[in-house]
Assembly symmetry: none
Homo-oligomer: 203 residues x 4
Amino acid sequence: MPTKKKPQVTATPERRRELLDTAAEVFAEQGYNATTVRKIADEAGMLAGSLYYHFDSKESMLEEILRTFLDELWSGYDAVLDAGLGPRETLEALVTESFREIDRHRAAVAIYQKESRQLAAQQRFAFLAASQRNFEKAWLSTLERGVVAEVFRADLDIRLTYRFVRDTVWVAASWYRPGGQHSPEEIARQYLSMVLDGISARE
Amino acid sequence: MPTKKKPQVTATPERRRELLDTAAEVFAEQGYNATTVRKIADEAGMLAGSLYYHFDSKESMLEEILRTFLDELWSGYDAVLDAGLGPRETLEALVTESFREIDRHRAAVAIYQKESRQLAAQQRFAFLAASQRNFEKAWLSTLERGVVAEVFRADLDIRLTYRFVRDTVWVAASWYRPGGQHSPEEIARQYLSMVLDGISARE
Amino acid sequence: MPTKKKPQVTATPERRRELLDTAAEVFAEQGYNATTVRKIADEAGMLAGSLYYHFDSKESMLEEILRTFLDELWSGYDAVLDAGLGPRETLEALVTESFREIDRHRAAVAIYQKESRQLAAQQRFAFLAASQRNFEKAWLSTLERGVVAEVFRADLDIRLTYRFVRDTVWVAASWYRPGGQHSPEEIARQYLSMVLDGISARE
Amino acid sequence: MPTKKKPQVTATPERRRELLDTAAEVFAEQGYNATTVRKIADEAGMLAGSLYYHFDSKESMLEEILRTFLDELWSGYDAVLDAGLGPRETLEALVTESFREIDRHRAAVAIYQKESRQLAAQQRFAFLAASQRNFEKAWLSTLERGVVAEVFRADLDIRLTYRFVRDTVWVAASWYRPGGQHSPEEIARQYLSMVLDGISARE
DNA sequence: TATGAATGAGGGTTCATTCAT
DNA sequence: TATGAATGAACCCTCATTCAT
């Protein structure tokens, strides 16, 4: 691996963040492939070529966006998983943390949702697959603990349940808009209510 | 349908179907934008240019795939909605029908999930937006009916519930593989069980 | 040069003529390059591939159209040039003959006007250049004879005059429509009047 | 004329002009349809894609070439038409101006001659049709004025005369080469002599 | 830091042509 | 004779990327 010279973190790392935020917004809105480097530059008020002073490539921007997001996400998740909570409380905390993450990194989450599967196949984005595996491990074990503790129903296919909960939470990024009428915690509460107790009225 | 003279659906509509199935598979796997016409042709065992004997453009292939899917979907939905069922039975039937559709048109559903939002902005794909509106109408009214009839909980935000159910069902297309261990009806049953009664054990 | 098998003059040579007439019309209207073989076939009520039963190539159609036209043109010109007329009568006869040719072969003349220069560079269309040389020879000698005989003005550049007369006549093909209010002979008469005596009133 | 690489310290609009001049030359020589964008780029010493930094499309290059030409042409014509000259002097001035324009914009004129008719049908090139109408108006009214003033012969069909003069002048672009032995003014004089007084010797 | 201009590798599409039926 | 389907080369255009200034 030859050392590259380009992305000197000289000057302002804030400018870098700004540009990445802009890029993330456009990626989320138009899709990664459909987004041209020029569109990002336009949005940032510069010319396409100028972006290459800050970043190696379009792909490296994408990578940094996703890496930053996943780092933060896991720092939140790890705190929850290490807190020694019971299975139901763990589930509630994970879901709430997820909605907070959607609130903070809406664009990144949307990108992740949409592109993750194809990206994960590339060497460069192997960290996506790794994260996904950890994710699955955390959820499955939580669900299993809950079944054992008779906190969750035992008659459900556990993998199906995992997918159900996982998807249910993350797709919200596709319609969620920060600053709307519901706070992330409020949405989390409602989602949890549905996921845990169902939508049908109890007799 | 204002398509003029070219590939009249006279002789072999089967070849057309074959090619569209191939295209749908590739679109679903790689994303519409990332899919090259050459890739589709390769998969179909012909040269890129040859596709244009059958179709006007890459976009028209996409359109036909989505139109065909939505036509079938709505023929199923309409049957359910016109059956005069109660709200809970309607919801169950709609969900079941959706999983059947995922089973039959997995690729089309996956494409729809991924590209629909951006596509709908184009004049050509306005029918996507129209379908989405009808979809929303059908679900919201069913949920409202259910709340009135005290079949569904009254304490949930109805739009949030709508999104919850809608997403929950359709994202399944992203991991569902036909011919797996669960039939669509089986999956529908488990999903319904979770959605209606929740995943937590009843005391 | 291997003998080709295709253009059997079997069956009807009339069909051949019909097809060539159709092709000439489209070539004239849209330009040779801009004309697709399919457009010709459409106009003839068949499929593009079917034309290749009758002709070797699009280019061979063009060649036959132009050859046929030039053959007829020269048969008319040669008659005039061999008639032993005086220079002014020769000029009048050539111009009249030209307008008759425009009347009969409007499409071919239009094609000739438009494409001749570029075509002539190709080996295959060398006959166009040859014809052009003969054409020039005939006109220049007629004009020179006329100057010597003091029938034409001596103070004009003879090459310029040649181009003037030549162009003046043939461009008419671009606006002439057979069956209009003026017969070719009538138009020829008026053109000759202008060319010979000018448009200004005599004092 | 070997194309050398200029020491382009050129500001942007000059580069644009250079490229358009190159394009015009190729269009004129090979015809618009037969000209590939790559050929233009070759001639300009760059790659095909690079042209798109300067222009939107091949068609937009054509448009700009023709627009520029017509703008200049009409600025010359308008000066003549507004000068309050008599009909004969107007005709002489228009013809002279036309030959000057051929001298300055030979390529553009040749393109105009060849492609104008088909182009005019397109929305984008409607300005060609408009120009043609103004052209016709100017000439017809000049000829009519001349007939009334008994400066031009009254026994000629005025539309035919219009076409005669118009074509006669502009076709010259197809053989005219700037820097030849005749200046545009000289050619104009000879043409006018023929058009006004005819080529036959006066008794 | 950013610009202007160019590169070069495709990508979608067109079209003359072929050929088995 | 004509059709239906396919070929393959070429075309216009896009876009990530580079680099001298």
